[in-house]
């Protein structure tokens, strides 16, 4: 029997809504003005290098990483910096952003714009990591953790396996799926680049069984490369979660508070791996990404190659505009994404999707009292007891109590809120619990 790769603890089966699976990636229109946040990652904001009036090209460094946990930010268009000020981001908070007025589309000369796939890697591990840092590459699966830190193995630790995360378990989203179908070879080369930096031979590309085309494309190609293997995982949400994927592929669990590198694994999203390929072998920094624009309220759903800093409104306009019956705009997937109202906010390195939802089923329902069914504990992929966390938060229990409940290990996947028959927003309580723990 073929071994099935799936995390065993908790999880749910969701309706897929992957309506854009067969939509080829289209270049989105370059907007007249882009606003690029200097912080699109976990860590400290990048230090701005340009000032008002400066002329920039596509790929010009705009802001320099401030410290180790930070990331470079590049211009996604050519033109003139018109203002640098705090503007509301998609989260609703104001963040420092660099606005650039677009003039033409002139790229930095160092960028290799050709379609040719480069096969040779002549750089040393240190050079590769330096390049990844220069490219401003961050974890594009949603966390935004700077990739160079992940790629540089700390002293005394040994990495054995690179897992390329092509699960994309969120409903609607197909950006990673399309990237794998259309850029399979680049992804494999990207994985080999990271392997070289890590000094290892093995990479596993984990793909959800609901992406047959991506599986076919990568399986066929991977046969040509030693050490690169495709593993097909059975669909279950949240299989794309780092801890869940490690469990599914290696059978090992990550102890609380440990990093994947502690058990010899590194997990990188396919989008990140593709960006690594582009930077290391083609000198192209991270200034554009694939965004799925979808939802039942979207007139022309599809997958778009979008310049970072493009206003969400301009992308919505391009896909048919915002109709009156749209209830919610979600950045990301419907399970972990955020609902926004400010459509002038820009697309960032972490924007995997923009969903326009109108169906009533995507609206929050009124909650009633807990009926103690225990389903939240049954579906929690972290093995937590969300009902107990909710109780502890409601009754203002001490931080110590929350720690005992391992509330800090919550991955915020939303399975508990999804499954709750009483419609209790349990995840909200878990998030409060996490905040309480962090405060101490």
């Amino acid at each position: 029997m073929v071994k099935e790769y799936m995390f065993p603890m908790g999880g749910i089966h969701l309706k897929k809504y992957k309506i854009t699976t067969d939509c080829p990636i289209i270049d989105a229109k370059i907007p007249d003005i882009v606003t690029i946040p200097v912080k699109q990652h976990i860590g400290s904001p990048a230090k701005t290098l340009v000032s008002k009036g400066d002329k920039v090209k596509v790929g010009t460094l705009l802001a320099d990483a401030d410290g180790i946990v930070s990331s470079d930010v590049h211009s996604s268009v050519s033109g003139e910096v018109i203002k640098i000020e705090d503007l509301p981001s998609s989260s609703g908070y104001e963040e420092k952003m660099i606005s650039i007025k677009t003039e033409g589309d002139e790229w930095e000369a160092s960028i290799d714009k050709s379609d040719k796939i480069i096969q040779e890697i002549n750089l040393s591990p240190e050079e590769i990591i330096a390049k990844i840092r220069e490219g401003g590459i961050v974890g594009m699966g949603g966390a935004g953790y700077p990739t160079p830190i992940k790629t540089a193995v700390p002293e005394g630790k040994k990495v054995e396996l690179l897992i390329v995360n092509g699960i994309e378990c969120e409903p609607f989203l197909t950006a990673d799926d399309r990237l794998m179908v259309e850029h399979a070879e680049e992804i494999i080369m990207g994985a080999r680049v990271i392997n070289r930096a890590l000094g290892i031979q093995n990479a596993i590309i984990a793909i959800d069984e609901n992406k047959p085309k991506a599986i076919e494309a990568l399986t066929t190609l991977s046969k040509r490369y030693v050490g690169v293997n495709v593993k097909v995982c059975r669909t279950k949400y949240p299989q794309g979660g780092e801890k869940q994927l490690i469990r599914a592929i290696t059978g090992r669990e990550l102890p609380s508070g440990k990093l994947p590198v502690d058990i010899g694994c590194i997990v990188q999203n396919v989008g990140t791996v593709f960006a690594v390929y582009e930077m290391v072998l083609k000198n192209k920094p991270l200034f554009e990404r694939i965004v799925t624009v979808s939802g039942d309220g979207c007139r022309h759903p599809g997958n778009y190659r979008v310049r970072i800093g493009t206003p969400i409104s301009s992308l919505i306009e391009e896909t048919g505009g915002l109709s009156d019956d749209v209830n919610k705009i979600i950045i990301g997937g419907p399970m972990m994404g955020n609902a926004i109202v400010n459509t002038s906010a820009p697309v960032t390195k972490l924007t995997s999707g923009i969903l326009l939802l109108k169906d009533d089923s995507f609206s929050k329902k009124e909650a009633s009292a807990c009926i103690r069914c225990g389903k939240c504990a049954l579906v929690c992929p972290a093995g937590l007891r969300p009902y107990a966390i909710k109780q502890a938060v409601t009754f203002n229990d001490t931080t110590e109590c929350l720690r005992k409940l391992h509330a800090g290990d919550c991955i915020e996947c939303g399975c508990c809120s999804y499954i709750c028959p009483a419609r209790i927003p349990i995840l909200d309580y878990c998030k409060i619990a996490k905040q309480e723990i962090r405060k101490k």
Binding site: S256, K328, P334, S361, F362, A369, R372
Partner: protein
């Protein structure tokens, strides 16, 4: 107008009402069996009980809680059905009304309604009737397939009563039965035996269990561990003592065990939250059931066993946690 809300933006359509409706559906085979074996009287008991339970909950919401009518979630219907299933078909309507009052008003609404009660409402209603009206609660009309067409009105003993009385040490004043009086296992399985209207037909209850599992309303743990405990415990007693009153299969197939294990011990509100807790709870129910059935003055012990274990649920919930991701096995 754009709306803002916290994630997730998708929720299952399996809300309380949908789950409860599935339980009602799962209880239907037993209702059909009850009517087939005990005639139109069974239907009278069921309808009276359900109507009374729904009415009491409605009145509580309307005049006491002054809240939204909570009968829409179908939980009162389930309580009504379960209460009816735990009564003999000859039960007078006014007694059923009292049982329904105890179940809904005292055991459920006094604690704050669905999700807040400590004891299974239907069982509270049944036990109250059982100790208040012992005569009416232990008259067992002899089941008669298609009773509806030709009622005969005869009464007899339940298999558990027969098992109880074959033990020589039990009180001599009651009518004595021998092991030959025990109905065949096939009759027990089908439901052609004396007993409460909803508990007799094992096959009908198992059909309901299959539906609950298929619809993922419950997991298999509580019923299977409960039944297994009863089976293992009675088998052990049977082989050690050689006493026919511990006949394992007779215990498994008779009395309220199937109904209790599948539908009452699995009640969300009054059972533990984690699987580990549910297993402890089920094993406790099984042990108590056998002890009460074998050694107490009563032939049946499922209701008492479940109610006693209900009282332990907060304690079980406190200590029976589950393994977190990354913790040692």
């Amino acid at each position: 107008m754009l709306k803002i809300s916290t994630n997730p933006h998708m929720q299952t359509n399996r809300d309380i009402r949908a789950l409860m409706l599935d339980v009602v559906i799962a209880l239907m085979p037993a209702a059909i069996a009850a009517i087939l074996f005990f005639g139109i009287d069974a239907l009278r008991v069921i309808l009276t009980s359900v109507a009374a339970c729904v009415m009491f909950e409605y009145l509580c919401c309307r005049y006491w809680f002054k809240s939204e009518n909570s009968t829409k979630d179908f939980s009162a219907v389930i309580t009504g059905l379960l209460l009816a299933y735990n009564l003999p078909s000859t039960m007078p309507c006014w007694m059923i009304l009292i049982g329904a009052f105890m179940a809904i008003v005292v055991a459920k609404m006094c604690f704050g309604g669905l999700g807040r009660n400590i004891f299974n409402p239907a069982l509270v209603g049944r036990v109250f009737l059982f100790i208040s009206f012992p005569v009416q609660m232990t008259v067992w009309p002899v089941p008669h397939f298609l009773q509806m067409i030709s009622p005969d009105g005869a009464t007899g003993a339940t298999p558990l009563k027969i098992l109880k009385s074959i033990d020589a040490s039990s009180s001599a004043s009651t009518q004595m039965y021998s092991i030959d009086d025990l109905p065949s296992y096939l009759n027990m399985f089908l439901g052609n035996i004396g007993g409460c209207i909803g508990e007799v037909s094992t096959i009908a209850l198992l059909l309901g269990f299959a539906w609950l599992l298929y619809r993922k309303v419950i997991t298999w743990h509580i019923p299977v561990y409960y039944l297994l405990t009863v089976f293992v415990f009675t088998s052990a007693l049977y082989f050690i003592t050689g006493n026919m009153k511990f006949l394992p299969f007779a215990h498994l197939l008779s009395g309220g065990l199937m109904l209790g294990a599948i539908f009452m011990a699995t009640d969300y509100t009054t059972s533990p939250m984690t699987l580990k807790g549910q297993i402890i709870f089920a094993i406790g129910c099984g042990i108590l059931t056998v002890i009460i059935r074998s050694f107490s003055a009563y032939p049946e012990g499922v209701s008492f066993a479940i109610l006693i274990m209900n009282a332990f649920v907060p304690l079980i919930d406190k200590y029976a946690t589950q393994r977190c991701y990354g913790e040692k096995r």
